[in-house]
């Protein structure tokens, strides 16, 4: 009886194993199919897609979250450098320039072989520029042009470096960077733009300027003339008549021996008189700024440079 029972048990065991294996296989297949249908199989590419989708919609902070999730869940992913670059870009788009610089610096430090390094450095330079850190911005653009001469961002970085130098009021540096651009990339469209912009930069050195001191003195001697000097004719005429009336009133009061009335008129008129001097100097300052801004607009237009 014993051998017969053994044979029965072996058969039974085989049947059991077969049954459970096929059941498990079916269940696993079913789970896979279900997972694929509902799109819950999280991979680094899907995570990246999520971030990109939020970026396209302008939801920069949600995009940053998705890219950071990728870095946490898939730190060894081949797309990790791209995610870090996009984090920097999203911060830039969200006008968080310091965070953008930090992210792009991390990318440059941790992924030295990344294909996004040139673009990252360009973006970092722009972020520095936005932060008004002109020295770092210029250095970043220069290093980009030097380290990645074949990159499409190299000519752009020379244009940006030239404009940064112009912001620093260093026209010689600005012109030399445009000359570098023209000599290194003669066939690039940026070089053609640079040829058009070079004479404008020369004009920047000899911009007509109004003296704040002269405007103040003019308005102190004859109220309103400082405004006229700074090109504000309406304000000049108004200042001349207002101050003339106050002064005439005060002088008439003194002549008629109405000293109290004269004192009140002089007291009220004094802020107008001093304000006219202050305003004339301010008008000259604004005139200078406007001339500079107008020429800068022309330079940006000639170089076809956009942030």
């Amino acid at each position: 009886m014993t051998p017969h029972r053994k044979i029965f048990c072996m058969k039974c065991l085989k049947v059991h194993i077969l049954f459970w294996c096929s059941t498990l296989l079916l269940l696993f297949n079913g789970f896979l199919a279900c997972a694929q249908e509902k799109g819950i199989w999280l991979t680094d590419r899907i995570q990246l897609k999520l971030g990109d989708a939020f970026m396209e919609e302008g939801e920069f902070y949600r995009a940053i979250t998705e890219y950071k999730k990728l870095l946490i869940l898939f730190p060894d992913s081949e797309q990790a450098d791209y995610a870090l670059f996009k984090i920097g870009m999203a911060y830039y788009q969200g006008e968080e320039y310091e965070s953008s610089v930090q992210s792009l610096s991390t990318l440059r430090a941790n992924y030295k072989e990344s294909k996004h390094l040139a673009q990252a450095r360009y973006l970092q330079g722009i972020s520095y520029w936005k932060l008004k850190q002109l020295e770092q911005a210029g250095e970043t653009f220069d290093s980009l042009a030097k380290d990645y001469p074949q990159s499409p961002f190299a000519p752009l970085s020379l244009v940006a470096a030239s404009l940064v130098a112009l912001d620093e009021e260093n026209t010689a540096e600005s012109r030399s960077r445009l000359e570098q651009l023209i000599s290194r990339y003669p066939d690039d469209s940026a070089a053609r733009n640079a040829i058009r912009a070079a004479p404008l930069i020369s004009r920047y050195e000899n911009l007509p300027q109004k003296s704040k001191a002269l405007a103040s003195v003019l308005s102190a001697v004859i109220p309103g003339t400082g405004y006229v000097y700074a090109g504000r004719y309406g304000d000049g005429i108004t200042a001349f008549f207002i101050n003339g009336l106050w002064i005439a009133g005060a002088v008439t009061g003194i002549q008629a021996e109405y000293y109290a009335i004269s004192g009140v008129l002089a007291g009220v008129g004094l802020p107008f008189y001093l304000g006219n001097i202050y305003g004339s100097a301010n008008a000259a300052k604004k005139w200078n700024l406007e001339v500079k801004r107008s020429l800068l607009d022309q330079v940006y237009l000639a170089l076809d440079f956009k942030f």
């Binding site: 946490i72 005429i237 108004t238 200042a239 207002i242 802020p271 304000g275 305003g279 700024l289």
Partner: protein
Amino acid sequence: MLLVLADSSCFAFDFLLKGPKQEKPADRQMQRAVETSCVKLAFETAIRFYQKRISPVGGFDRCGFRPSCSAYGYQAIAENGPVIGLLMTGDRLTRCNIWKEPGPDYTLLPNGKLYDPPSQNLLHEMP
């Protein structure tokens, strides 16, 4: 497991969804409480008196600028002291004439007024 991790990291980075930090406006009540300059206080009180008692007479908004000349004067004195503030107010009252028009100095607001805050008229700072 991955989904659970993804969800938990969502909460971890929740602060990122709030956008850039915004500075809270200065507490004006506190500024008033610590005001110690009598001259400044006198000018500010005079402007407040004008705004509450004199300006409403006539019933219409005459100033073509925003902030209005009185509000500009108040701000200029509060932010730059009575001396510079008074000079800026005198200049602004002169500029508030029939020749003012939108341009690089004055931005036209949707209500038809020209935007000209004290910060754009400081001699020592870039506008």
